[in-house]
Each structure stands twice: as structure tokens, then as C-alpha cells.
């Protein structure tokens, strides 16, 4: 079975641009979460979706948005990119909203120049 897949793996964008990151959860997992990990720090929670509804939102500006599709895949969108948005963006899926642990994808490395 495929694990959590994220695309693209690497991305370079210019300040002010928009970016869309994609995530496909493990088959059967209905919960998808997004995390931002800045170099040298632990991941920070951005969003959680379960059954296509937003179930949690972290302390991130409105430039960050996400959605979950009927097949439970998800997109994370970031508008008006800032240099500080450069980070590893991780997607995690779970069958039980985290009660039994999460499976993470390999991440998308976003560099804003």
C-alpha cells in the first residue's frame, strides 16, 4: 500500500506569489493534517481536516488555506508568500483523528526567494 504522498517534493517561489501543495492520504484514512516545520524547530500545526470538514486551525495568518476533497486528498494554499514561509510542509493522515498516531508524508520543501 502507498503511504502518504506529497507533491511537489521541492519548490522555489518568489515573494508575493501563490503556492499550492498537495497530499494524498493512506487509503482509508479520512483525516489529513498539515504542519509547517522551519529549520531547526519542531513541526507547527496548520490545519486538520476530517471527513472533508475543517476540524482545527493553528495560529497561522489567513494567507494560509486548505481544503479536503471527496477522495480525502487535500491541498494547502499559501497566498502572498513571504520569505518566512520557507519551510518543510508536512502532511499527515490518520484513521482516527490522531488517537492512534499519524503517518507523515516526506514533505514539500518550499523556498521563497
Amino acid at each position: 500500500d502507498a503511504g502518504v504522498t506529497q507533491s511537489p517534493t521541492h519548490l522555489i517561489k518568489t515573494r508575493g506569489q501563490h503556492v499550492t501543495l498537495r497530499c494524498s492520504p493512506i487509503s482509508g484514512h479520512k483525516s489529513v493534517s498539515w504542519y509547517q516545520q522551519v529549520l531547526g524547530q519542531g513541526p507547527q500545526f496548520i490545519f486538520q481536516y476530517y471527513e472533508k470538514e475543517e476540524r482545527g486551525r493553528g495560529n497561522f495568518p489567513d494567507r494560509f488555506s486548505a481544503r479536503q476533497f471527496p477522495n480525502y486528498s487535500s491541498e494547502l494554499n499559501v497566498n502572498a508568500l513571504l520569505l518566512g514561509d520557507s519551510a518543510l510542509y508536512l502532511c499527515a493522515s490518520s484513521s482516527s483523528q490522531g488517537i492512534s498516531g499519524y503517518t507523515f508524508g516526506s514533505g514539500t520543501r518550499l523556498t521563497v526567494v
Binding site: 524547530q41 486538520q48 518543510l88 488517537i99 499519524y102
Partner: protein, 113 residues
């Protein structure tokens, strides 16, 4: 914001030795999870301990949880060079809260051959 802190921030040991990492957190929890991350890529779920459990084992891993002290420890026995990675603890908050992971700042473990 980070839930808590891992201690030490960095640990260097010889192959075959045991490695102990500690984690402190601030709020009541449903469970606490430990993850490993190699070279800034995706996180791998290692073990989950629930708030009503005090100790859990998985292979060479032993996790303890002290909810009165809001702390946990991860012991890796008979370490190998392949255990070199960053280790993060992450909490899932208690009842009524969203089920996102709140990570600590991580311990960088280096196992020397």
C-alpha cells in the same frame, strides 16, 4: 507555539550504548507520541502512550509517562548508527480539544560507530 521542550537538545553516544531523551509538556493530554525524523524529511511514528498508561515498550524502545510531572522519556537500548536522527515528542490534547499534534523542539541523536 511549542507544547514543551525536549532535553537534551543534542546527544552523542557510542554504538551499543543506551540513549535517553526527555520531554516536558504544559497542558493535559489524551496521549503522547514519539516520532523520528531523518535528515529533515518526513516523520516516522515510533510509539504512542495514552494518558492512563505509565510505561510502554516496542522493540528496543521504552517510553514512560508521568502525567503528574507532565513529562515523558524515550529510552533507546543498544543503539545503532542507523538510530541517528532527530526525535520529537508530540502531544494530543485532552477531551474537547482538536486532535492536532503539538510538538516539542526535538533532540538530535548521533550514534557513533
Amino acid at each position: 507555539s511549542q507544547q514543551g521542550e525536549e532535553d537534551p537538545q543534542a546527544l552523542s553516544i557510542q554504538e551499543g550504548e543506551n540513549a535517553t531523551m526527555n520531554c516536558s509538556y504544559k497542558t493535559s493530554i489524551n496521549n503522547l507520541q514519539w516520532y523520528r525524523q531523518n535528515s529533515g524529511r518526513g516523520l516516522v511514528h515510533l510509539i504512542l502512550i495514552r494518558s492512563n498508561e505509565r510505561e510502554k515498550h516496542s522493540g528496543r524502545l521504552r517510553v514512560t509517562l508521568d502525567t503528574s510531572k507532565k513529562s515523558s522519556s524515550l529510552l533507546i537500548t543498544a543503539s545503532r548508527a542507523a538510530d541517528t536522527a532527530s526525535y520529537f515528542c508530540a502531544t494530543v490534547a485532552g477531551a474537547g480539544s482538536a486532535r492536532q499534534l503539538t510538538f516539542g523542539s526535538g533532540t538530535q541523536l548521533t550514534v557513533l560507530p
